[in-house]
């Protein structure tokens, strides 16, 4: 009996535990399902949001891609348009300058209107280049003067040969052909005996063959011209390029140069021609009308009376351009030997000769200090002489020593403000020496 009761208690307890254990999990399951449903709803909502965001991002990416494509197309179009070099291409260059000059000599203090020199270059493929430069300036009497500096066709024959035809700058020496533009010239004017009124030929009309030929590691250059040549005139021997010849003799001129070092150029020049008497020139009325009449600065001479003369010119030049240094020197000498004079009376005119030379040193102060102002400065000195022999009047007019000292400020590589003092010492006793203060602003473009 006691045993049965124990089993009964145990059975009751087991039943109670079992019933309790069954009812508790059922309740917990109800709670989890609700949470899961809630989470599911939340996830679905987030997925929807993400889908929306993805859609928007994709849309934006497409739009960005389209913009990038457009930009790329535009960029390549721009690049293509820049890179195109048309068969007929051209370029405008040149220079302009203005200035002021104070003098203690016979000349008045004056503003100088300066010059405007536009230069046009037209090129057809790699065959031919046409180039021309005008000089426009206001004369001392207020008139506008237009001069054709050069107008030439350059046929690119070969890597080492170019044939030039037309009116071109004379290849004799280095100043006239390369250094005379005011944005290149370190001084405000030309050395004595160079430039207009000097013995260096200005230009020539005819043909010229020129080029550079490598000799091993060195370079040799040549320029040989055949042209109408100089004339005699009321201004002496006129070395401008004339549109027509006054005699059938053609002038032969040129320059040969060699570079023993990369920075050193040594050149030699020559010109040989016959000078016809002015009487023949006078017969050509339409040419005579085109002669310049503004000769106030030019020396008068008796050269017009020379019947037929042999004019021979030669000279040499050097240039050393290394780092901050720019050192140049040039020498020219010319002779005119009269052949006729008055043949009826066996008069043979005295031979005439001219000499001109200069040496110039410029040093750019870049790198000397850390000052941005100082490194744009360039001191320069130049000394030269111009002399004539054989005609007293000519000697009185021309013979002079000229010393220049200057300081340039380079605003940019082709814009320069030049200041300088010029001391002119004339050989003639009756001529008063002259000191000039010169300022010039030049812009090369």
């Amino acid at each position: 009996m006691r045993a049965i009761s124990y089993w009964g208690v145990a059975a009751s307890m087991a039943t109670a535990v079992a019933s309790a254990s069954i009812t508790a999990p059922l309740y917990a399951q109800d709670i989890d399902q609700a949470q899961l449903l809630e989470r599911l709803n939340s996830l679905e909502s987030e997925i929807q949001k993400l889908k929306q965001q993805l859609k928007e991002t994709t849309k934006q990416a497409e739009e960005t891609k389209e913009v990038a494509k457009k930009a790329d197309r535009k960029a390549s179009k721009t690049a293509k348009s820049i890179d195109i070099v048309r068969p007929n291409s051209w370029h405008l260059a040149g220079y302009a300058d203005v200035g002021i000059e104070f003098s203690d000599g016979e000349n008045a203090d004056t503003f100088t209107s300066g010059k405007f020199n536009p230069a046009f270059h037209f090129q057809y493929k790699d065959l031919v280049l046409f180039e021309s430069e005008f000089q426009v300036e206001t004369s001392s009497t207020g008139e506008t003067e237009v001069t054709l500096e050069y107008s030439q066709l350059d046929f690119l024959l070969h890597d080492n040969a170019v044939l030039v035809a037309g009116k071109f700058l004379s290849p004799v020496g280095q100043f006239q052909e390369r250094l005379h533009p005011s944005w290149i010239n370190r001084m405000t004017n030309a050395p004595a005996g160079f430039g207009h009124g000097g013995i260096q030929p200005i230009s020539e009309v005819g043909l010229m063959l020129r080029g550079g030929v490598p000799l091993g590691e060195k370079l040799f250059t040549y320029s040989v011209a055949l042209g109408n040549g100089p004339r005699s005139g009321h201004d002496g021997v006129e070395l401008e390029g004339f549109g027509r010849d006054d005699n059938s003799n053609k002038a032969l001129s040129g320059r040969l140069a060699f570079f023993p070092l990369d920075d050193l150029e040594i050149g030699g020049s020559f010109l040989t021609a016959k000078i016809a008497p002015e009487a023949e020139e006078a017969a050509d009325e339409h040419d005579e009308a085109e002669e310049e009449t503004d000769d106030h600065d030019e020396p008068a001479s008796e050269l017009a009376e020379v019947a037929e003369g042999d004019y021979d010119l030669w000279g040499f030049d050097m240039a050393y351009t290394r780092g901050n240094w720019d050192i140049r020197a040039e020498y020219l000498t010319a002779d005119l030997k009269g052949l006729g004079g008055d043949s009826d009376h066996d008069e043979v005119p005295e031979p005439l000769s001219w000499k001109a030379w200069y040496a110039q040193v410029a040093y750019r102060l870049s790198g000397v200090t850390e000052s941005a102002f100082i490194h744009r400065l360039e001191p320069v000195v130049r000394y030269g002489r111009f002399t004539a022999e054989g005609d007293h009047e000519l000697e009185e007019e021309l013979n002079e020593k000229r010393f220049n000292v200057g300081l340039n400020y380079w605003v940019s590589p082709s814009v320069v403000v030049k200041s300088g003092l010029e001391f002119r010492n004339y050989y003639a006793d009756e001529r008063e020496d002259d000191t000039r203060l010169q300022l010039q602003l030049s812009y090369g473009f």
Binding site: I82, D126, R210, G212, P214
Partner: protein, 97 residues
């Protein structure tokens, strides 16, 4: 009459040189491919040749077409050999962007 005949050889010479020149120039129109060292050669030649007379302008001062013409102008004026001029032109065109 004699003077005129004296001038004939010059005319013949000019005509011959001109004819030869055109044929040579026509042959030159085929552009050579730029070699990898052309830029370096051009930079060196640019510094060496241009500074002989004037300050060097910035490469960005001109477009490709302008440099093409300007370099030819300087080739003639300064007697620069054609191959050197092409190196300079290639350098300037690559440097003006």
């Amino acid at each position: 009459m004699r003077k005129k005949t004296e001038f004939i050889p010059f005319l013949l010479l000019a005509g011959l040189v001109g004819a030869l020149g055109f044929s040579a120039a026509t042959a030159q129109t085929t552009k050579t491919k730029a070699d990898p060292q052309q830029f370096a050669r051009g930079a060196k030649a640019w510094a060496k040749n241009c500074a002989r007379c004037h300050n060097m302008k910035s490469a960005q001062d001109n477009s490709d077409e302008e440099w093409h013409v300007d370099v030819t102008h300087m080739r003639v004026r300064a007697n620069i050999p054609g191959d050197v001029a092409r190196d300079i032109e290639a350098f300037l065109k690559a440097s003006n962007k």
